[in-house]
Symmetry: C2
Subunit: 502 residues, 2 copies
Amino acid sequence: MENSGEYKELLVIFKKIAYLKSTSRLLSWDQETFMPERGQEHRAGQMSCISGLVHSMLTERRVGESIEALWQEARNMDISSDCHVNLREWRRQYQQAARLPEELVRDLAYSRAVAHSAWVKARSRKDFSMFEPHLQRLVDLSRKKADLLGYKQEPYDALLDIYEPGEKTSNIEAIFRGLVPGLREILHHVQSIQPQQPLCFQAAFPVEAQKILARLMAARIGFDFTKGRVDTVVHPFSTRIGPGDVRITSRWNERDFTEGLFGVLHEAGHGLYSQNLPAGRFGTPLGDSVSLGIHESQSRLWENIVGRSIEFWEYFFPLAKSLFPGQLQGVSQQDFVRFINRVRPSFIRVEADEVTYNLHIYLRFQIEREIIMGELPVKDIPGRWNELFREIFGMEVPDDSMGCLQDVHWSGAAFGYFPTYTLGNIYSAMIFDAALKELPGLRQGFRKGNFEPLVRWLDTRIFSQGQRYRSRQLIKRITGRPPEHHSFLAYLHEKYERIFGR
Amino acid sequence: MENSGEYKELLVIFKKIAYLKSTSRLLSWDQETFMPERGQEHRAGQMSCISGLVHSMLTERRVGESIEALWQEARNMDISSDCHVNLREWRRQYQQAARLPEELVRDLAYSRAVAHSAWVKARSRKDFSMFEPHLQRLVDLSRKKADLLGYKQEPYDALLDIYEPGEKTSNIEAIFRGLVPGLREILHHVQSIQPQQPLCFQAAFPVEAQKILARLMAARIGFDFTKGRVDTVVHPFSTRIGPGDVRITSRWNERDFTEGLFGVLHEAGHGLYSQNLPAGRFGTPLGDSVSLGIHESQSRLWENIVGRSIEFWEYFFPLAKSLFPGQLQGVSQQDFVRFINRVRPSFIRVEADEVTYNLHIYLRFQIEREIIMGELPVKDIPGRWNELFREIFGMEVPDDSMGCLQDVHWSGAAFGYFPTYTLGNIYSAMIFDAALKELPGLRQGFRKGNFEPLVRWLDTRIFSQGQRYRSRQLIKRITGRPPEHHSFLAYLHEKYERIFGR
């Protein structure tokens, strides 16, 4: 099949599409970093022009016909063979695009833009009612979208599948069923063993010194600055413009150095994956990342499992001390590691520790699913949020800006996105377990700042594979088990025992 | 015609093309400013994908047919009517694209890329022979290109027309015939009246302070930082991403502050034009700039006529003194103005003063024309260059890096570009003359840092007109005369008398 003209033509078309999409990513990156403020309107025009071109190239009838014709042959091939993989993923992309009428796509894009501004305002005024009609519109359109995309069990499946191809709502539900009680148990335990009067820094941590340490950490774990850069933004993200060009971003807080340092480690985790995808496969599924969940497993692996470990700071704490001699005076390495691992329930997801984080996600998953099923009216979201929050955390949400208005996702109609955060977390623990089994000296290496064996191991198992396997398959190949919550709970349990146990 | 479906369709197609081209400009800007070094290969792929799309959209048969059909009607309309202008310029774009076979375009792009690297090496080794075969290839392709584009009198016309639509080689020749002897006369005169021992700064001028002054000057003349930005690059340029987004660049030299300061003023001149093109007309010729020559008239107007004037520094010198108190201690305003206006023949064009600059262009114009006519073999360029340099400047070129290898243009096959620099200079003097006649208090305003009347005047005559008129027509409308050299010579004469005269 590799030598058929039809297949080669698809390679050419999808490479063009990939170049356009990568150009779109540069437009977004620039918008968040350096674009002059009044460039906004023109930027929207550029982006909609390019996404229109991508859509029309992708949904050309000839493309669909070629894909279907070749798929008849490829579907019977080895499921990890290049042709099978490329056609499987091209077919998915084609179907996702072809099933959505242009009108709906435009309508969603427009409603999202309007809803986003309304959300910003509503959040600052702590007034859900200002956002409600916009959210209602996005929910209506998203439910329509789910119907058009199609699903077997429930409409939420169709939306989840956009972010985590092949994943099912019922699987997510099963994971939370085990995860949530386990997390609550760990939460109570850690609260009982961690210091009741935790460390508290009075002095500011100069942003310039934070940037140096963060860049050093990123470079040390393998982020290649000849193929990437770090910039400052309001809402951090990472993006792969293409092979050899991966950009991560962060924000900085003089009063809380964990924001910038762990933010960079998180994004550098994404960046490592992006920088090591097979460059020669650019423009084909074999050169692309698997899913948001797998991507998040990489960011959380480096941010939390590696980056908040005792061993990691054995190497970096002396460096941190030389950059913040006054601020860290009299602070022991143990106190420092305890500080960056302190656990406490909070209202805001992005400030949550490793234990409570997934409880926040669970709440959102519940609500999203009820909304998309049509069981929960949009107007009842604040009440339902606060009720669930009370149930899970035992705390009263003071207002909607600390509650259902805190996240940007719904204003972008990104229903189905949140569960990929939890998938990322549980994948990360499973992956690290597998790595530890095969490379028992890993943690010893971290003490000396040696992260290369882990990167090389991840490269073989994940980075170099592109989209050869869907996430569930990939995790099973690497760990021998399907995605499950036990590894993550065991990881947390062991970690906090080591850090806070007596 | 405005309401015909065919015309509206062309508006849509050309707007798409404009968005793609503007995206390409962001890709270039990013490449020169922030792109990681190993992003180069992917960037080349993105740019060639987009230029391929533009080419295929522009040369679609249906586009050509619509343009020809509508042109039959539009050609008889008032030449400054919207429909006439748009169709005239669309037709020119279509023809330029359609006349060049894709193979030639690709061949040129490839040969340019190869030649550029060879030129960089050849220049650093001061060895023309390393560049010669590459230049030969570019010359061959450019002559072919000229033949395909078509011309009435000589092939150089076809190339010149790319950069200065409608301009003719014979006009350029006529301008130089008057300009060159006049410049040589002024050169001798200024050399006799300027101080023989000019000011010489020992202290460095910190780059950060230079940047502040440069940005202040740019903002004061009207460059709007909510619609633009200034960045640092190796080879300065300015680019209009789109309405509301105009980016200028500069380089900085601690030992020579004139490079950065006048570099920013120059680019801010381009930027003022770009920021004030009619935003609502984006994507049509009426929203675009006239030509390289008219663009250069704006940069040179602000850099030289305004920026190196006595009045300009009456306002800015005290500010400069507060930013460089030590460096400018004991330096009088008169000495400073004399310093930034010193005249001396030099080998390098980009370092040339206002008098000798156009002599450098004259030399290049002569050689380009002889090459494109086939009169001068490529291998004889160094000899011819040095011979002409001796004739014009009376100086011996020490080596090719100071001679025919100094400019980037030929390595990019940009034959026909150089004359637009001289056109820009003579336009700038004519335009400023006209402005002075209509706004006699202009110079008085400069003394107080008031540049708004000039900007408003330029806006009415030039910025707001887009491509309504070709350059020759536009100059005639503004000044009452076709492009000529007298105004420029008179401007120089008067300026140096005022600055150096006793």
